[in-house]
Assembly symmetry: D3
Homo-oligomer: 240 residues x 6
């Protein structure tokens, strides 16, 4: 039995609210149950140094948590003077995941920066961030298309993400904090809308896991991501 | 005529939402029109080094802006590796203002840290932060009183803040961004519920201002803060 | 009775020594009693990034204290690796105050950087810094005018500063350390030579202060700044 | 055809040289073809703050590359003042992987720090680091057992790692730089000696990958890690 | 002919002013011609971590330059966030030189920190710093002896320093900036009052120098340091 | 008697291995007994800012130690976020020493960066670094000459370095760690192949040293450097 009473293959209630703040080209509040992340997409007409003059754009992400998004307050990274290894790992993952569905040449020499700021954490902040960021990115791209800054849509797919794990011996989908802190194995899966893998990151927390456990988790992930991709399309007013 | 159509002595719509996030001892979303700040109060059973063994507590504040809280994206301070001078100035102001109504000895050897994170900025983020933080602080103190960690209430007053300025020659209350970026003078005033000054910070942006202008601005501030203090009491379910 | 035996409206002995060091375009040792600050003005033929190509100049300030300028040694900021919030607050204040009397367009595309380094501290280091910096700035401008680098004088006024406060219930002018550390209210006032406000920063240290206290302090400040502006003119060899 | 002429399931020549430097409790030079990493294990009789008084030990890792380990010189992280996100990601991975086979309670209140320093890079530096680090760790543990500092062996298994990927449409084992920079998919797998997963990290570089591709890569990884675990036992003078 | 008109073996005018600032246990303004350095000695009743519980004290030094001590303004190290390699080299040299004449055990578990802050630079700032610091240190020790905090004098000698070099083919003593920037060889020598070497640091700026040049420079240094040691004794009111 | 059994004027076994790693333009493993340093030379077609447009090149050096190159592990500088004063001092010394034999104008607008990374330390890491770096630099220059990037050889001499000291009253050559940690005086000498001084740095660790001790040490240094220069020529396949 899961602490939340959910079935093993059941997502938490998912909500994707567009236009959450008013300045950004894309602004989304994504909620996976009690995990709440603001994802904004900012368009800037310049590219990082390593891309200058290459005729292509860039999509990158930054991630942060409000100090009291968690059970106990954690030090503010700006005050401490550096981003933790965990933060950097997550923001690199978000950026890679989004770039997997972007044609950077079609984007032109501009950068879209995604900011994922967790205002309340209850497990799965990186998977919620990826899922919400895609919607913010799509909104920013729409604005660029609407004002004719882009000739063609640089997005060639959708990307969403969910966590899976082994909790008390049972493979489960979309772990909340109560499960996550106790899980034997924790895996974050990023897939496109066709169910192909963009990223797989699995870690044995307790015992090492076997191939059949891996396969069971990946099957759950595929099912969850199919639902999340549908939620993204609903939020964006799209139908298959 | 003000860009927002408000009367010179009119506040923006003020909203104070308690229990905005679930983990903090106090959590408030404060809105001064389109300026939105999450203020959380976190209680920790330790004091900073300079207070160890002195039998008193501490109240301190940290301030941040989400990178895209503003019209154009500003660099994330955690990524840049330091807090700007502006950020430090603001968080020092918030901390001092709150301590003005706290009996630190009555708080005991614990620290209450206020985090003010601006999720949308439209002028007056520091005054909104102070006004909302007081409510978050009051909630945290109530929790400490409820679980008998405190014998007496360490709060001996209310504190709230508003900006005033000279906009196109006219003294106005609670400047939004459109006014603020054009104002000749900008002043932030912090007062207690009795209308006495806790902090006054006025800066001539254009021409230096005269004593009668200062007095007109301070009168507006007093009126605005009286209203804000009433909003705080409403939010906290208190009546005069 | 003040610890120094001064009357409530009496400044400490003020000394302004020009050409204190030999390399800078302006170099002033300013003394407010035992508070001693070296203020230098350095002219550089470039502007910060945000002003490039805008046809105007910039005036900015940096502030520091020698580690043993104070009663007990404080850590060297260069060794610690960052400037404190207090330092940044002060240097921002000095820069804003000076810019209030400079026509930046008339300055042309150059930067004047004011360095205020406190070699001995006894209260009021920021007000002494502003007062001395104006003289260093005036000297640097004279050199630019003398070598025809400027067509017209970009200075359109004088700026000076003093602290006022409530000490043992009495409003007093120009607090020294003994008073400052015990004052109920501490206020720094920056004015131009016409007695108009450039900056007002007041903080209740003990109880919140009332309007009549504020007015008494501002009257003292105006009187003190009038005297300081006269000292500046004397130092510069000017007469009204 | 692979650039190196290897069969798809063929490891590069693997060499594990123990006692490579003289001061460390464990010191290994591990070579995966032209990738060469010095792995040292250092024992210290203290634990990090978060473990104090908990009666258990800690195993952690740090990773670095000599600036000219690569084709073009990269900036020295010590000179730049921070470790890159990539570096932090790798050293966190190495630490987690090693801890998966250590009984931290049996280790007692001490820390073993693994330093992985790449002196020549040709792809797969993180997998070589993990594989070599296990041998360095085993040597350090042997020294602790030999001098009776430990009652029982805290190692309850072996851990090794290899990369797999899809190169020109074919799943291949142990990618070198020429393959890695061109691969469509890149996956790092960490397993114990029984072939169970400790960590799986796969990234689609080009197109998203399908379940059957994932399975083909994991099968190659298992075979490679079986060989690497055998190399580790040989190096340590162990036989099954 | 030297730019200053001095004879090759002639020091610049040397001035050592004690009690230059009022808070420090020792405070000296040392002048080697136009090079002016404030040296303060601060006594603190604690030792750095590596000396805790060892029953001995420590003497250390920090060095800084006011940004406009030099011909052109250099960036403030506190603002830049780190001390340059040159600064660290100099402060390490000053500390080592002073410790050469201190019996650290006799000092007891306390630290004397010397701060050398250059307010005007004209060559030889490190040698002036060492020479002035010794006097500041002696004053701090006298205060400790006077208040019976020390039983015996921990100073067992004097230390002073001067630069020598080859300028236009001629060995010269105590180079000023005009000479230093053009010298073929630059050497800083630290000696005790008996003319024995505490530190020798020589660098060929142009051509490598020969043994006879080295000997000529060292003979000049010995003569100069003999004079400087006499100046120190005069300043301290001592006679041989 | 020296701990190693060497005669007072005897170097440790010296080995210079070229082409130690494969990517760098020059790559040398230099061994002074148990002290082992990897020295690489990297050529980049750009110069630092202060040399832009001056038609000359630059040679600079960076130095690091693997954390466990020493008896006990020292903190990784990249993790700590800064290079120590000692590291900076050493890398500045290496750079200056090499530049003493390079015609920077003949090098053209390019930079050669020398990286010295100590993989095992047993005293004399800076002198081994200088000696090995010269060979790496010579190899990089040869490659530039071979591909006609340079018209003439910018190297106009050889540079090598050794330590000397007073150990138990006896002047000795090339101190190892056992001697160094106990020596009364420690001196690093850098000379060219003609026996002229490039750099001399001597420090009294115990008592101050006298002129005749200095001369005895310098004579030993000259003899040792003559041998080292011969070793460099052998390694480079040169004969006098």
């Amino acid at each position: 039995m899961r602490p939340s009473g959910r079935a093993p293959d059941q997502l938490r209630p998912i909500r994707i609210t567009r236009d959450f703040t008013k300045h950004a080209e894309g602004s989304v509040l994504v909620e996976f149950g009690d995990t709440k992340v603001i994802c904004t997409a900012s368009v800037e007409e310049r590219v990082p140094g390593f891309l200058k003059g290459k005729g292509q754009g860039w999509v990158t992400a930054e991630y942060g948590m409000l100090p009291r998004a968690t059970h106990t307050r954690s030090a503010r990274e700006a005050a401490r003077g550096s981003q933790s290894g965990r933060t950097q790992e997550i923001q690199r993952l978000i950026g890679r995941s989004l770039r997997a569905v972007v044609d950077l040449a079609a984007l032109g020499e501009r950068t879209i920066t995604i900011d994922c700021d967790v205002i309340q954490a209850d497990g799965g902040t990186r998977t919620a961030s990826i899922t919400g960021s895609f919607v913010a990115l799509a909104d920013a791209v729409r604005k660029l298309l609407a004002r004719k800054a882009l000739k063609k849509n640089p997005l060639h797919g959708q990307v969403a993400s969910v966590s899976v794990g082994i909790y008390r011996g049972v493979p489960v989908l979309d772990l909340d904090y109560a499960e996550d802190s106790e899980a034997e194995t924790d895996m974050n899966v990023v897939m496109n809308e066709a169910g192909a893998f963009v990223e797989v990151q699995g870690t044995a927390e307790g015992h090492a896991f076997r191939m059949e456990e891996l396969e069971a988790m990946l099957a759950l992930a595929r099912q969850g991501i199919t639902e999340l991709a549908e939620k993204q399309r609903e939020a964006l007013g799209l139908r298959h």
